[in-house]
């Protein structure tokens, strides 16, 4: 290697371009800039800036970075994979490093150097990266710098889902709406990034020794550094944040380029890039433009201009008025209507994190405009912040969002039979039948079809939403971005940028994607005729003409978009408020002295320790949120006697206690299949002379305890939490743990087969392979057959005798007998309680909810207390395994081959045949099997004209959204009578 060599390293990431010029061993130039997707232009620009350093010399070049691949290929410049480039530089400069953690715009990487080099990149999921931090800052209405500064002042951390930005948003929004301090939220966002890196990338390998942190976000964000250091328990010496952190990849690329024999001069490299721009070949698929010509656009505009509400000047109107407030997840809307339902006043604004202040300001403004001429006779509030605003301003009534939207839509189209509302991060759609809401679909954990997604993209490309939408209308060949989650779309956009797509085409493509997501993912319709004949669309996202047009194109039909599409919730609330003739709303006087303080506390009501946020108002009133049950509210418990099978089963399992025995202790993790078979294994091992120790039901802590050894981040939460249960048992000194491999579950003769799902069946294999500590103890995971006593005896004897040769066949036979008895006793008790619950509900005229899923969904951490919420809303809660015995086996359209699911299908039939019974299905995110069962359960219910409600649950579930769903269900049921 010649030390006079001049080398240029170019690193083009998903959002930024970095350039480093090395002369011999000296870095003579470095530059870091956002490229706003203009990859080629930007590269040429930053290279020409250093013309004076390059001219007259020959030099080597290589390009790295995820967005650099296309350019390198087209320009004929050597490419080096970015992780490899990082490895190159670290080995050169800091050879004693054991782990490198590098966060980029959309990538996260971990490289292990000690004990076998191993490099990990995030997979198709871009959660926990720079782009994610940017998104969160937007949400907090702060710059990244402000957010970072704020995070340093935090006093506590909230759990925020770390898998992807979408989930995190659903967690953060309610926190903000409920008044959590921004400093705490900011630090929690960083913590989520840290957790994501550890869980997603370390995949079972411990991060210790000297750790080097690289990449933009880790260079700029002090708070993030702190979170990493603290979480990984690193000393100052072992946590290295080098000055060149942002440039490591570019430096690696420069050094790598020296291996190549190709040299460039300033002119040759520039012309190579220019040629690359000319030869840009598009490999990604393109779509037809939104409008074929100007005329089409004009017709479109004229048609939609017709759906409008009359506006009346508030300064001249006198008489009664009604107020509607829609305190949504990202925006707050207010509407004041006259006695003719005309608009007197409207307001639409981003929440900027504090809806209470915003509403107060607006109310003061309205009071001022109203003077003595206008009297507010009634008010109603809807949306995420409903209960907070209702309490803060003594609003007359709250109503669930879905109803508010229906009232508004009906005003524009009395025959409306389908409403689609796309807001910031919610998609709501419902069918109307016979004047009542017939079925409701809400997006679950995914908000890929929503507006805030477009907003974030617009901002990242340096545009406002309005500009961005306008550009989209002009796109001549919209890029096809697929119909999956935002995170995937990020990569699709990256790909199209690589292919040189224009901002116009990207904008149009995003609109099409949003629409397709809504139709095919959320509504899951095959064609427009399935939706309805009179479709009303609303919500802020439809104010974007590109989205509206894409929707009509996709449906092949025209729809109505009221001009106040963004205000429909508020308008509906105002229409609803017309039933009042005098209002309790706070007066203009009171507003002047109105103050609002919020503080966060940990509820001590039970072991759940909900994060409560206590809002206190000037007059001493309090509003508490964040609670999973009534306890934290300081209220008397009133629902004690109402049967809740989730609680019953939890109680039953928690009462299985071990008794000291001659063979010592055996640990059983209370997770996955244990929720079904715990009584059986408990009896068997007690009989064999073991003291059975169960791990406790899960909390968030359980998950965190084991998350570092999870190899597959996309597995379901109930499986991932298993790692924590084993850690807990081992921490408690248990040295023998049992969780068998069971291909088949108990055969209840009610399906075509009786499998367990692959994860329940074989998760032990994964645990053994990935949890190092298990090799220090005895982890028993034999393949057993629990279908007959004989087979269980044979398989269990073989396994246990191997473990302890003093165990005899006769002992195992006795144990298996009591195991089967205990299992039957448990099943019978659950079924008896199920029937008692049904009887109780009918005697007390209560609605019944089959809150179904898998046995492990009763775990308080996995089920997130949804059962308690249902009880609060007035349901008697039963489980599928408590009532499935009341239905015979019926033919299914799918292969009915899993034991747990065949119970589901029978439970669905029960709900289908009983008017007082509703079914709500809990689905774990990532459960592949439920893609099949949910469709089947839905058809069973809908064939008989019943509602189907599905709730997707994950690490973190926003109970606010669940509450909306369940309340909408109640609203729909009430409307039905």
């Amino acid at each position: 290697m010649s030390y006079q060599m001049l080398s240029l390293g170019i690193d083009i990431g998903s959002t930024t371009a970095k350039v480093v010029l090395i002369d011999g061993t000296d870095i003579i130039h470095e530059k870091y800039e956002r490229h706003f997707s203009q990859v080629r232009t930007k590269t040429i620009e930053i290279v020409s800036e250093i013309r004076h350093l390059l001219e007259g010399r020959s030099f080597t070049v290589s390009i790295s970075g995820s967005a650099g691949l296309g350019l390198a290929e087209a320009a004929g410049v050597p490419f080096v994979q970015e992780v490899y480039a990082t490895g190159e530089i670290v080995r050169t400069l800091e050879p004693d490093t054991s782990v490198v953690i590098e966060l980029g715009g959309e990538d996260a990487k971990v490289i292990f150097f000690k004990g076998g080099t191993d490099e990990r990149m995030n997979g198709t999921c871009a959660g926990g990266t720079g782009a994610f931090i940017d998104q969160m800052a937007v949400l907090l209405d702060m710059t990244v710098e402000e957010m970072d500064a704020a995070s340093l002042q935090h006093t506590r951390l909230y759990p925020i889902a770390s898998r992807c930005g979408v989930f995190a948003k659903t967690d953060i929004q309610p926190l903000l709406n409920q008044g959590a301090a921004k400093a705490d939220v900011a630090a929690s966002v960083y913590q989520a990034v840290v957790n994501q890196t550890i869980a997603g990338l370390a995949q079972g390998r411990k991060i210790d020794g000297k750790v080097m942190f690289l990449g933009g976000p880790l260079y700029y964000c002090k708070g993030l550094k702190d979170r990493f250091k603290e979480t990984l328990k690193l000393s100052d010496e072992n946590a290295v944040f080098p000055e060149y952190g942002r440039f490591a990849v570019a430096m690696g690329a420069a050094i790598y380029s020296r291996k190549s024999s190709t040299t460039f001069t300033y002119d040759t490299i520039i012309s190579a890039f220019e040629d690359a721009a000319k030869n840009a070949k598009s490999t990604s698929h393109r779509l037809a433009p939104l409008f074929a010509n100007e005329q089409e656009y004009e017709d479109f505009r004229t048609r939609h201009a017709k759906a409008d509400v009359k506006k009346v000047d508030i300064t001249t109107y006198s008489g009664n008025a009604w107020l509607g407030i829609d305190c949504g997840s990202t925006t707050t809307k207010l509407v004041l209507i006259s006695k003719n339902n005309d608009l007197l006043y409207t307001f639409y604004s981003s929440n900027r994190g504090n809806p209470v202040d915003l509403v107060r300001e607006q109310l003061m403004n309205i009071y001022e405009l109203c003077g003595d001429r206008i009297k507010i006779c009634g008010s109603a509030v809807t949306g995420y912040g409903e209960s907070l605003i209702e309490a803060a301003f003594r609003i007359d009534s709250g109503l669930v969002e879905t109803l508010a939207h229906y009232f508004a839509a009906k005003y524009f189209q009395p025959d409306v039979d389908f409403i689609l509302d796309i807001g910031g991060q919610d998609i709501k759609c419902f069918k109307i039948k016979n004047g009542a809401i017939d079925s409701i679909m809400l997006n679950e954990a995914c908000s890929s079809g929503c507006g805030s997604f477009i907003e974030t993209f617009a901002k990242s490309m340096g545009h406002t939403v309005q500009d961005f939408a306008a550009l989209g209308l002009r796109g001549t060949a919209p890029v096809d971005l697929g119909t999956r989650c935002t995170v995937f779309m990020n990569s699709s956009v990256k790909q199209s940028q690589k292919d040189g797509a224009t901002v116009e085409d990207i904008s149009a493509g995003l609109s099409v994607s949003v629409v397709k997501n809504a139709i095919y993912k959320v509504i899951r319709a095959g064609s427009a005729s399935e939706l309805g004949e009179n479709i009303v669309v609303q919500g802020g996202t439809f104010l974007n003409d590109a989205v509206l047009r894409a929707f009509e194109n996709e449906l092949g039909a025209n729809v109505i978009r009221p001009a106040i599409a963004g205000l429909m919730g508020a308008y509906g609330a105002a229409l609803y408020a017309r039933k009042f003739s005098s209002s309790t709303i706070v007066s203009a006087e009171e507003l002047k002295t109105f103050t609002h303080k919020s503080r966060a506390v940990l509820c001590q009501g039970c072991t759940n320790h909900c994060h409560l946020i206590i809002n206190t108002f000037a007059d001493g009133r309090k509003f508490i949120s964040g609670n999973q049950c009534q306890k934290g509210l300081g209220l008397e418990k009133t629902d004690e006697d109402v049967p809740n099978l989730h609680a019953y089963k939890r109680n039953y399992l928690e009462n299985l206690k071990g008794t000291a025995g001659k063979r010592g202790k055996i640990g059983l993790p209370m997770a996955l299949g244990m929720f079904e078979l715990a009584p059986m294994w408990h009896a068997i091992f007690t009989e064999l002379g073991y003291e059975v120790v169960f791990s406790k039901m899960s909390t968030r802590k359980t998950y965190e305890r084991g998350q570092f050894s999870i190899p597959s981040d996309t597995a379901c939460y109930p499986a991932k939490i298993m790692h924590g249960h084993l850690e807990e048992l081992m921490d408690n000194g248990i040295d023998t743990i049992f969780y068998p491999c069971l291909t088949y579950n108990v055969d209840e003769k009610a399906g075509d087969n009786h499998y367990n799902c692959p994860v329940v069946a074989y998760y032990s294999e994964l645990l053994q392979g990935n949890m190092d500590r298990l090799s220090e103890i005895k982890f028993l995971y034999p393949y057993l057959n629990i279908n007959t006593k004989r087979a269980l005896c044979a398989t269990l004897y073989k396994a246990m005798h191997e473990h302890d040769t003093t165990i005899t066949r006769a002992e195992v036979q006795r144990a298996v007998k009591s195991g089967f008895d205990a299992h039957n006793k448990f099943r019978n008790a659950v079924m008896a309680e199920g029937e008692r619950a049904l009887k109780y509900a009918r005697e007390n005229k209560m609605r019944i909810m089959i809150l179904c899923g898998r046995p492990y969904h009763i775990d308080p951490e996995i089920g997130h207390g949804i059962d308690k919420l249902a009880v609060q809303l007035g349901f008697t809660v039963v489980t599928e395994d408590g009532i499935c015995q009341l239905e015979p086996k019926r033919p299914t359209r799918v292969l009915n081959q899993w034991t747990y699911h065949s119970r589901l299908y029978r439970a669905a039939h029960y709900a289908a045949h009983h008017a007082d019974t509703e079914l709500v299905q809990l689905v774990s995110f990532g459960c592949g099997i439920d893609a099949i069962t949910t469709d089947e359960v839905r058809s069973i219910l809908e064939d008989s004209g019943n509602f189907y409600t599905q709730i997707k649950i994950d690490e973190i579930t926003n109970l606010g959204a669940v509450r909306i769903r369940l309340r909408s269900l109640l609203g729909a049921l009430d409307a039905r009578g």
């Binding site: 995820s66 691949l69 490099e119 690589k498 597995a715 491999c741 499998y755 799902c757 692959p758 069946a761």
Partner: protein, 422 residues
């Protein structure tokens, strides 16, 4: 299913229906079609690719379902809509293992999709050894299975020979062209209705080997990359964004374990089921006979390859079984199960240290047998370089290729070190 919820394929239909077969392994499947022809069926291998296929799949299948289901169903629907076939004279066929993975439900998903698209009258044949459904016009009897088995053996042989030549051939495309010629010729033989002569088949093996040996090549020390994973995305170019071609373009030699191994895996699971679960004694005895027979067929082919000497022969399945021992229990039998883990190890043992583990995003069995086994595999075999790639309707090529490039960069570095040490 106790009540028939599907349209059976009748004797009547056999006369004039065209059976459509999805793309997975074109060479294997073309020869299988020839076998079917012998028995009076008219079958057609689907060759429609492109975004319309994915689009049709996403439109009619639950989007959280695995990617292979979306593609296969999308391919069927796209074909039915193309106008190329008379939907009233068309039947579809899908393989159904009846295992505990959701793949056993592809058929139900396909029928649901057909119903939504207005083709509920189109019969779907379940091709299953487990006998999940009955179709009077299509019975999977021993003679058919026998013929198909040879189609698989030929297919595996041609596949491995193409892979062992295409990286080095002087004239690009020559190996594949030769394979295509053989597929046509072998198809004619298998479809002629004449009695299958094993002697002739063995002669064919030798002729094929000789033909491939004649392809002018320039051999060099190329990086060897093994491909394992969920069966559809492992084999199908439609499913894996043309992975093999990408690797070849990068100058690597691709090693893909054959399809017969998957069949052997299914049979072997039934053999050992009695040992593991203490039920199904007689079934396991019968399956043991089938297992022995299949192993013999594979081992005969291996012997001929060894005898010929120029090409790397397959691994004996008995050795593949052993390769997974100590890593994963043989009872893990859903999806690709223990075979996936064993194949990674087998590749490592035979000098293929770089492995792409392909899986549809969120594939349940692969959480355990694929991603779940990488840590122990690497711990005990520090020289194995594995990359897991997720395939999905929304996953982009650029992301996949970036990860593959990382794997290849490491592979080249390791190869260089090795060469220096030698």
């Amino acid at each position: 299913m106790d009540e028939r919820t599907y349209i059976p394929f009748t004797e009547e239909m056999k006369k004039d229906y065209t059976i459509l077969i999805p793309t997975m392994l074109p060479m294997h499947f073309k020869m299988i079609i020839s076998v079917l022809k012998t028995y009076g069926y008219k079958a057609d291998l689907l060759e429609n690719y492109g975004p319309e296929v994915t689009e049709a799949g996403l439109k009619y299948v639950h989007n959280d379902t695995c990617y292979p289901a979306i593609l296969v169903i999308g391919q069927f629907l796209d074909a039915l809509k193309s106008g190329k076939y008379d939907p009233h004279k068309t039947a579809l066929i899908l393989f159904q293992t009846g295992g505990g993975c959701r793949a056993s439900n592809y058929i139900s998903l396909l029928r649901k999709a057909l119903k939504r698209a207005g083709y509920d009258y189109v019969p779907v044949i379940s091709l299953s050894f487990a006998g999940i459904e009955t179709h009077p016009g299509f019975k999977l009897d021993l003679p058919k299975i026998h013929g198909m088995m040879y189609a698989l053996l030929y297919g595996d042989l041609l596949m491995t020979l193409v892979n062992q030549c295409r990286t080095y051939e002087l004239e690009k495309g020559q190996a594949q062209a030769l394979a295509d010629k053989w597929v046509a010729r072998l198809g004619d033989e298998l479809g002629s209705g004449a009695k299958i002569s094993y002697k002739k088949i063995k002669q064919n093996y030798r002729k094929i080997l000789n033909d491939f040996a004649d392809i002018p090549v320039k051999r060099y020390n190329a990086v060897k990359v093994g491909v394992v994973g969920e069966i559809f995305v492992k084999y199908s170019p439609l499913g894996n964004n043309n992975l093999e071609q990408f690797l070849v373009d990068e100058g690597a030699e691709v090693v893909v374990p054959g399809l017969l191994d998957f069949m052997l895996y299914c049979v072997y699971n039934n053999v050992v089921d009695y040992d593991i679960r203490k039920t199904g004694f007689w079934k396991s005895k019968i399956m043991a006979v089938a297992y022995k027979f299949l192993c013999k067929k594979k081992n005969d082919l291996i012997a001929i390859m060894e005898d010929h000497g120029l090409f790397t022969p397959f691994t004996h399945f008995e050795d593949t079984v052993k390769a997974g021992e100590g890593y994963i229990g043989i009872g893990t039998k859903m999806g690709e199960g223990w075979l996936l883990t064993a194949e990674m190890l087998e590749l490592g043992h035979t000098g293929v240290k770089n492995i792409v583990c392909t899986q549809p995003f969120g594939c349940l069995p692969n959480h355990i047998c694929g991603k779940g086994m990488m840590k122990p595999i690497k711990e005990h075999n520090s020289d194995i370089n594995i990359v897991a790639i997720d395939y999905d309707a929304g996953a982009t090529k650029v992301n996949q290729e970036n990860r593959l490039k990382l794997m290849l960069a490491n592979a080249r570095e390791n190869l260089e070190k090795e060469t220096v040490n030698v």
